[in-house]
């Protein structure tokens, strides 16, 4: 086993960190205070990210990405994760890996423009009545001649306001399974501007200012058959095969923000003086730092072990669920303790801690709630015992 970084990995970490500190941090206050990410700013930073080869670096080399292995990609995600989410997600976009599942024509139309920074994608699965229970979805697509007709509603769809198209998962039938009736699902590319497809503002939420989610409505939206991504009724399989290690991605970004919160905390504990000595001299503070660092290290090891296993082809759903669970819960804990160490100042938006604390909240919910992760982890153990 080798836990060290290669020279290339270290260089990638250094470049990504330098980019995050020089190009993203200076704009965080604006995005956090206005809750809005200006398009001029996006264009400016996006051009720099493209020049630095950081844009769409998750993609394989042959399609114009950086061709990183999973461990290196997660190192890159960890560094990006230090910054405001809206800034790094939009300006240093990582197009969904599911675009790689498309036909050659679909790759020309969707994948390559996303990698070149000319288009943005978004992924539409969640519905008001179907979150974790994806196969209980109601939005549907029905074949009509050579076309498909889409109807229904999707919500919580990240970045749909700026996206040029949506990859929409729609029910296209129903089948009997050992656990009752489940929907058959098909994935479709739906372009903005298609009659019957509308995007409206979603909800304002506690985490990630500047990040947007939208509500997608399909009202007899008619699209041709060549807009199907993958095979008909195989949307669930397409997602499982191609989406990649998105749970580890969430975990890695949490590591970056926890590290940032810890760095602030150590600095403050060493500098802040009360009753004639630095507050870090008090075990009430120093033990917090020790526990924060230990939790961070544990989560870090879990995320990168799972990433390493992903590269070996030996990763399990439990490995990724555990890593996501640990990293997101660790971030909530570290962010909360960081604020406690800083006292009142921790709550002020002059420091990034209050937003790291707010932003931490969503991480335990999206990409599968902590409860779903625990279900995945325990299910594997119990099923082995026939339970």
């Amino acid at each position: 086993m080798n836990f060290g970084l290669t020279e290339e990995q270290q260089l990638i970490v250094d470049t990504t960190r330098a980019f995050v500190e020089n190009e993203l941090y200076p704009h965080e206050a604006e995005v956090e205070r206005t809750g809005h990410l200006r398009m001029e700013l996006v264009n400016e930073i996006q051009a720099k990210a493209i020049a630095a080869g950081l844009y769409a670096a998750n993609m394989p080399e042959e399609v114009g990405g950086a061709g990183l292995d999973t461990v290196t990609w997660l190192l890159y995600e960890k560094e990006l994760g230090r910054a405001n989410y809206a800034l790094h997600w939009t300006c240093v976009a990582r197009p969904s890996n599911i675009l790689l599942a498309g036909s050659d024509a679909q790759k020309e139309k969707y994948l390559y423009p996303c990698i070149r920074g000319e288009k943005w994608d978004c992924l539409a699965m969640t519905e008001p009545g179907a979150g974790s229970d994806l196969r209980g979805m109601k939005a549907s697509a029905v074949q009509d001649g050579g076309d498909w007709v889409l109807n229904g509603t999707k919500h919580f769809i990240s970045h749909a306001d700026i996206a040029d198209f949506a990859i929409c998962f729609m029910a296209t039938g129903e089948e009997e399974t050992p656990r009752g009736k489940k929907k058959k699902i098909t994935a479709f590319f739906v372009d903005k501007g298609t009659p019957g497809f509308s995007v409206r503002d979603g909800y304002r939420n506690v985490s990630h200012r500047g990040y947007t989610n939208s509500i997608l409505e399909f009202d007899d939206c008619r699209i041709p058959a060549d807009q199907v991504l993958g095979e008909v009724h195989k949307g669930f399989e397409v997602a499982n095969t191609w989406l990649g290690a998105t749970r580890l991605q969430v975990g890695a970004t949490c590591l970056g923000r926890a590290e940032r919160a810890l760095e602030h905390s150590v600095e403050y504990a060493a500098q802040r003086s009360q009753f004639g000595q630095s507050i870090g001299k008090n075990q009430g503070v120093s033990f917090k730092l020790a526990d924060m660092a230990t939790e961070l290290k544990a989560a870090n090891l879990m995320v990168f072990e799972a990433g390493w296993k992903f590269d070996q082809g030996t990763v399990t759903d439990q490995d990724m669920a555990m890593a996501k669970l640990k990293a997101t819960e660790m971030l909530a804990y570290v962010a909360d303790e960081a604020i406690q160490i800083h006292g009142g100042m921790g709550l002020m938006d002059d420091l990034p801690l209050e937003r790291i604390w707010r932003d931490a909240r969503v991480e335990r919910i999206w990409e599968g709630t902590s409860e779903i992760q625990r279900h995945i982890i325990s299910r594997a153990m119990l099923r082995a015992k026939g339970a």
Binding site: E8, L11, A51, A52, G53, G67
Partner: protein, 249 residues
Amino acid sequence: MKILVPVKRVVDYNVKIRVRSDGSGVELANVKMAMNPFDEIAVEEAIRLKEAGVADEIIAVSIGPQQAQETLRTALAMGADRAILIKTDGVVEPLAVAKLLKGVAEAEGPSLIILGKQAIDDDANQTGQMLAALLGWAQGTFASKVEVEGERLKVTREVDGGLQTVDLKLPAIVTTDLRLNQPRYASLPNIMKAKKKPLDEKAPADFGVDVTPRLTVLKTEEPQGRKAGVKVGSVAELVDKLKNEAGII
């Protein structure tokens, strides 16, 4: 045209420097190291000259421990074509560095050597000038603009009084100032490619140079902490303090 760019591995500029408890020097254990920022500017300038079609090969060279290889990889990832590591242990003083670089220059035959004006660790600001003297080449130090015109080089220098422009005959030495350019990021695809670029290892003996230090460091100590200022109640009090306590007026 071949360009030689020496790069030094130094403590990262973001790191808060700590003196070793025995006062023998600066603490380097477990400290983040990086390329000297002025050398990054030198690498960037060389790459720009290559992109402009003026240069066709950029050779990065570093003198230091095995880990200086990481600094060379950064130069390769930014765009240098190949690298030379002259492996040394311990301190190498500017004169020894200049002698080693003279050896490299004689072996490689570059038309231009671009160096940082100084390294941010010891701030010596000597290597470029010494190298120019040893080689008998022209030098343009503290450059804020470099233009190649055929066999000549126009270097704009940042001097106390403003900007001075010197006209040099190639081959020449240029040392970089802060405002020469804004170095690029080592891009991700180039980082991946850097591994495949050649990196040769040499020893000081290959150039017949004795790198034994000629200077002895007596003591290294932290600068004194700043004392708190005082508030004055009136202009009269300020004038009085300046006159009688500070002795300025």
